[in-house]
Structure formats: structure tokens, C-alpha cells
């Protein structure tokens, strides 16, 4: 028996390998899919490394720059420098003389009735506009001085949000979280769906009936309600949200896999393995699962964008990820609320989401075309 089993198990990997090789070659010829792959790789890389490399941390609050528009020019704008210096000095309760700006250096003449406490520079240091603050030219009696500071040039290429945080840094972080949610939820759906579907389809009969009836029941359950309840029970736990979404999205996967399995079951090589007495689990593992990989892979690439969109819908309901983390859905739903006053808050996260979803969709389409030679 063990002798006879060999050719059966061998047959499948051989044909499988060439099938995949063919498919990959076809995929490589698909320019849209390859471009998508490139975009995805760049975005993934940016989201993983970006937050560490980008000059602004994603949770840093710049209280002087709340809701400033996107700009390729550095902030602060020239007309804000002098008033901001005067405001900071006023808080330090010193008398302010002339304030001049020369290049990147600001000079302010200050005086007081008592000797000036050098610690007062922290009032200026605290401002996001200035750096390297120092007291130069203190007079002999210490009652007047010239304060010098460099203007801190900051770039907010995508603007800042309602708390004064750099939007670009937040988008990078959001891509990371959204991708992670998409992938993890898909993985959960994959594991449950494939196991469930393959088992039901392979065993057939009454087991199949019961298992698919359970799927039907879950289908009829309004999933929004289900997810809301989960979020309410367990709070905004990120991992839990992955699992919740995955737990809802496995149903389609189970149906697809079951359908495939049913048709595979009647194929010669499975019948042969059965006749040879290979255990049910063995057949499912060795024959069924490898052969449903194609449709499942396609479904997966299309499920990731679906999950990302679902997450954005949850964010719209206010059930998104918890501060200070963020996701594209959270950013976009905030942006949608700020549409009229601060359009950049909507535009840039939307571009990021659209790019991501376009790439995933084209990749999924390309993969399907590649795996299904009939379409060529």
C-alpha cells in the first residue's frame, strides 16, 4: 500500500509546481498587477520603516500648529515669527523692545525692573517655532538683554490634524495599522473558512448539511450588530477587532472552498487516493487544500481591501482603533467631518486608501487571470 501511495502523492506536487510557475510567469507579464505589487511593497515598507524615520513622531502634538494646511514650504510663515516671539516673551513677564528677524535668527530686546532670570528662556523654548534659545548681550546690571533664537523650520507636507499632529506621520502609521488589520483578519478568515469548507465539502452528507446550515445562520445574523457587540464587550482591543472581523468574513471563504472541494472530490486522483485507503484528514490535507489554493489566494487579495473598508466603516461609527493609534478609516472619517474647513485632512488619507485598495484589487485580478488560463 505504501508503495502504491507514492505515485499518487508525487503526481500532485509535480503538476502543482508547473501550474504555479505558469501562473507566476503570466502574472509577471501583467503590467497592472506588477505595478500594484510595487506600490504595495513601497507602501508596506514606508509604513513599517516610515514612522521611525520621519522627522515627526505620529503622536507628537505641535500646539502652535493646530490644523495647518498641507504645504511644501516650511512653517512658520514669516508673518507669524515676530508676534509669536512677543507672545512668548509676554508670558515671561518682561518688557519687550524691538524684535527683528534676520534669516533664521530672531533677536529680541528685553528688559525688566529686576535682573533677568536666565531661566526665562524656557518660555521661548517651549514654543514650537523656536530652537537654540539663548540670552546674548546681557547688560551689566542684568536688567536688559538681547534674546536670540533660531527659527525652527518644520515641514508639514500633508498638514496637521485637529490636535496639531503631523498628518503625514499619522498616515504612515495608519497604513501600517490598516494593512495589519486587513492581513490578520484575512488570516483568521482563511484558517476558519478553509478548514470549515474543506471539511464540509469533503465529508458531505449530513455533516455537510449541518455545517453549511450553521454558515447560513451566521449569514443571516446582521454582522454590524455582531461586531458592535464584540467591540462593546471587549473594548477597542486591536487584536480583538482583527479576530472579530475575521470571524465574520470567513463565511464566503467556507462556501468557496466547499464548492471547490465538492468538485475536486469527484476527480480521479482523489478517488484514487480514497481507493488506496488514505485517511480523510490526509486527503483533505494533501489533495484538497493544495488544489483550492488558487481560488483562495484570489479571494484573499480581494478580502484584504474589503476588511480595510469594513474597518473604515466601523471608524465612521466611532468604533475604530483607539487613540493615539490610528487607521486609514479613522483618518478618513475624521477628514470627512472636516471636509469644508480643512480639506487636506480628507484628501491625503483618501489618496493613501485609494492607492492601497487599487493596488490590492489589481493584484487580485491579475492573480485570478494568471491562475485561470481560460481568461487569456
Amino acid at each position: 500500500m505504501s508503495l502504491a501511495e507514492e505515485p499518487v502523492t508525487l503526481k500532485e506536487p509535480v503538476s502543482g509546481r508547473s501550474l504555479w510557475q505558469d501562473a507566476l510567469a503570466r502574472l509577471a507579464r501583467n503590467r497592472a498587477a506588477m505595478a500594484s505589487l510595487l506600490i504595495l511593497a513601497v507602501m508596506a515598507l514606508a509604513s513599517i520603516l516610515g514612522p521611525a524615520l520621519w522627522p515627526h513622531p505620529y503622536d507628537r502634538v505641535y500646539s502652535e500648529y493646530v490644523r495647518v494646511p498641507a504645504s511644501l514650504e516650511a512653517y512658520p510663515h514669516e508673518d507669524r515669527i515676530v508676534p509669536e516671539m512677543q507672545r512668548s516673551l509676554a508670558r515671561a513677564r518682561v518688557d519687550i523692545g524691538a524684535v527683528t528677524v534676520a534669516g533664521d535668527t530672531v533677536r529680541a530686546e528685553i528688559s525688566d525692573e529686576e535682573p533677568i532670570d536666565p531661566r526665562m528662556i524656557r518660555y521661548v523654548e517651549r514654543s514650537d517655532l523656536f530652537s537654540r534659545v539663548r540670552l546674548a548681550e546681557t547688560s551689566a546690571d542684568g536688567r536688559s538683554a538681547v534674546l536670540e533664537a533660531e527659527v525652527a523650520r518644520l515641514f508639514f507636507i500633508a498638514g496637521t490634524d485637529g490636535n496639531g499632529r503631523d498628518l503625514f506621520a499619522r498616515i504612515l502609521m495608519a497604513i501600517r495599522i490598516s494593512l495589519a488589520i486587513g492581513l490578520l483578519a484575512t488570516a483568521v478568515a482563511l484558517v476558519i473558512g478553509v478548514t470549515w469548507g474543506a471539511t464540509a465539502g469533503y465529508l458531505g452528507g449530513r455533516v455537510d448539511n449541518v455545517m453549511m446550515r450553521i454558515v447560513d445562520i451566521l449569514y443571516s445574523l446582521p454582522f454590524i450588530f455582531f461586531v458592535i457587540l464584540l467591540v462593546v464587550f471587549f473594548g477597542r482591543n486591536l487584536v480583538l477587532m482583527f479576530i472579530a472581523v475575521g470571524a465574520v468574513e470567513w463565511l464566503d471563504m467556507a462556501r468557496i472552498v466547499r464548492g471547490q472541494t465538492l468538485s475536486l472530490k469527484r476527480r480521479e486522483f482523489v478517488e484514487a487516493a480514497e481507493a488506496l485507503g488514505v485517511s480523510d484528514a490526509g486527503i483533505v490535507r494533501r489533495h484538497i487544500i493544495p488544489n483550492v489554493t488558487g481560488p483562495v489566494a484570489v479571494y484573499m487579495t480581494l478580502l484584504v481591501p474589503k476588511v480595510i473598508l469594513l474597518e473604515s466603516f466601523l471608524s465612521f461609527l466611532g468604533l475604530g482603533v483607539q487613540e493615539p493609534l490610528t487607521s486609514l478609516g479613522v483618518l478618513i472619517s475624521e477628514g470627512a467631518k472636516n471636509m469644508q474647513g480643512a480639506s487636506w485632512l480628507l484628501i491625503y488619507p483618501s489618496i493613501a486608501l485609494a492607492l492601497l485598495l487599487f493596488a490590492l484589487n489589481f493584484l487580485g485580478d491579475g492573480l485570478r487571470d494568471a491562475l485561470d488560463p481560460k481568461d487569456r
Binding site: R213, Y219, P222, F226, V232, S333, L353
Partner: protein, 308 residues
């Protein structure tokens, strides 16, 4: 076929029962109740209210009370809309949601099929790429962005259409909500039709039809489309149920008095009876549409036979 349909409906009864049971207990495990408001209620008031709504009784008794009421067709009073019963709310909201959903569905089928056919017939042409691009765009932009943008452009800036409101169902008030609802569906239908059509055009019977010299238009309309519509039909089952029972986003943003928003509102308000009512109605729709899809499938594809 009638016997088959009846049998399917009957077999849905235990399914519905299970769904009701799961939802009932899930809802009750959630922290908070219908009377936990920003303004806290005095203990005395809370006690009175709980007694009025039988919330002070053991959970299992409440469950049987609910079931027995449900069997008599009584969905109970709403906890939060205290002047209405759940049935009142659905009687008012369901027709609105169905109107919107059905219009959006029809629009999506019409435009989606048209776009999908064009793309399939001119595969890999500029028109094809354009359709695929539009279709992808349609599912990329969330409705909560599309809705306010449409309202701003056509309602506020141009002033062509109302910026919101139902207006007792006036045509002008429906256009933007229907468009918003239909957009992602158009995209999906177009993609499905394109894929299935490409396959159908290569199939033997379409080739045969072409070989007989039938004009392309007729081949497409009669033979290819009939085969290509199948995946769309199976997609439409769940999609139709979701569309007809409303969309939270569209209803809140345009101020439409449908039932879509009850899903979320009721769950967040812990309006127990309204949540259960929603669950029952949605489940009924899903069961019904799955049946309709199966019947349609059989009608379109003679290979499928009922095993009653």
C-alpha cells in the same frame, strides 16, 4: 417548485429561532442598559422603569416572554422611542428603505451590466481599462465620503437638488441617496459581469451562435449575458437584503427616515426590543432573498435542478 419553496421557508424557521436566541442573549451580556443616559437617573426612577419594562425579572423569563410575544407577531414597544412600538417604527421606515434600496439595485444592475458588457467585449482596450478603473474607484471610496461630497456639490454649491431630507419621498430627494447607495454596487456588478462575460464569450454555445452568423448584439444579449448574469444573481442575494434594509451611512447623512440606522442606534442605545426587531427583519430578508436567488438561478440555468 412551489413545494420546494415552501419547504425552504419552513426549514428557515429553526434558523430564525436560533438567530433570535443568539441575539437575545448576546445583547443582554453587553454592559449598560436602555436607561443609562448621560443624565443619570435616580435609583427610584430606574427601579420604576425596569419594572415597567419587565427588566427586573429573570433573564430566562424575559426570553420566553419575548418569544411568546414574537410568535403572536408582537415585536414589543421600543425602549428608546417610547411613543412607538417596534412594529410602528418598521411600518414607517421599511417602505422608505425598500424604495431606496430597490432603486439603487435597479440602477446598479442597469449601469453595471452595461459597463461590464462594454469592458468584456473590448477586453484590454482603453474602454476596458476605464471601466475597471471606475469600478475599482467605486469600491475604494467609502460612502461616508461620497454622500457629503455629493450633497455639497449638488445641494449646496449648485443648488440643483435638495442637500438632504426625505421630502415625503419626492423624486428630487431620492436622487443623491440612490446614487450613493448604487455606486459601490455598480462597481461590483460591472466587475462580475465583465469576468463572467469574458468567459461566456469563449464558451462553446456562444461560439456556435456566432458561427451561425448571428449578429454580435443578439449573441451578447441572448446567450452570453444569460450565462454571465449567474454570478451576479448569486451576489445579489445578500447584497439586496443589505440594500433593502437600508444603509446607516446614507440615512444619517441625508436624513432619510429608513430603518438602516436602527441597526447601530438601537444597539448603542441598548434598545433591546428594537435590536431584536431589526435582527428578525434582516434575517427574514436574507432567508427570503437566498430563496429568490436559488429560484432565479434555476430559471436561468437549466442545469440546476431542485432536489426537493
Amino acid at each position: 417548485m412551489l413545494a420546494y419553496a415552501l419547504k425552504r421557508l419552513l426549514s428557515a424557521v429553526p434558523t430564525l429561532f436560533l438567530i433570535v436566541t443568539i441575539s437575545f442573549f448576546l445583547m443582554r451580556v453587553a454592559p449598560g442598559g436602555p436607561f443609562h443616559l448621560e443624565r443619570p437617573l435616580e435609583a427610584k426612577v430606574m427601579e420604576n422603569l425596569n419594572r415597567l419594562y419587565h427588566l427586573d425579572e429573570p433573564l430566562w423569563r424575559q426570553y420566553f416572554l419575548y418569544l411568546s410575544n414574537l410568535l403572536r407577531g408582537d415585536l414589543g414597544p421600543s425602549f428608546v422611542y417610547r411613543d412607538f412600538t417596534v412594529a410602528d417604527l418598521f411600518a414607517a421606515g421599511l417602505p422608505v428603505s425598500i424604495q431606496l434600496g430597490a432603486s439603487a439595485l435597479a440602477l446598479a444592475l442597469l449601469i453595471g451590466t452595461f459597463l461590464g458588457c462594454i469592458a468584456a467585449l473590448r477586453q484590454n482596450s482603453a474602454a476596458d481599462y476605464l471601466v475597471v478603473g471606475i469600478a475599482t474607484f467605486g469600491i475604494t471610496v467609502p460612502p461616508f465620503v461620497v454622500a457629503p461630497v455629493l450633497s455639497l456639490i449638488f445641494g449646496v454649491s449648485l443648488g440643483w437638488l435638495p442637500a438632504g431630507g426625505w421630502g415625503d419621498g419626492a423624486l428630487a430627494n431620492k436622487i443623491l441617496p440612490v446614487l450613493t447607495l448604487a455606486l459601490p454596487q455598480i462597481a461590483i456588478v460591472a466587475r462580475l459581469i465583465r469576468g463572467a462575460m469574458i468567459e461566456a464569450l469563449r464558451s462553446d454555445h456562444v461560439r456556435t451562435a456566432r458561427a451561425y452568423g448571428l449578429p454580435t448584439r443578439i449573441v451578447v444579449a441572448v446567450h452570453a449575458l444569460r450565462a454571465a448574469i449567474l454570478p451576479v444573481v448569486s451576489y445579489l442575494g445578500p447584497a439586496a437584503a443589505a440594500l433593502l434594509t437600508g444603509s446607516i451611512v446614507v440615512e444619517t447623512i441625508f436624513g432619510i427616515p429608513g430603518i438602516g440606522r436602527y441597526f447601530v442606534q438601537a444597539a448603542l442605545n441598548r434598545d433591546y426590543t428594537l435590536v431584536m426587531g431589526t435582527v428578525v427583519v434582516v434575517s427574514l430578508f436574507v432567508v427570503l432573498f437566498n430563496l429568490v436567488v436559488d429560484l432565479l438561478y434555476a430559471w436561468l440555468d437549466p442545469r440546476v435542478r431542485f432536489n426537493a
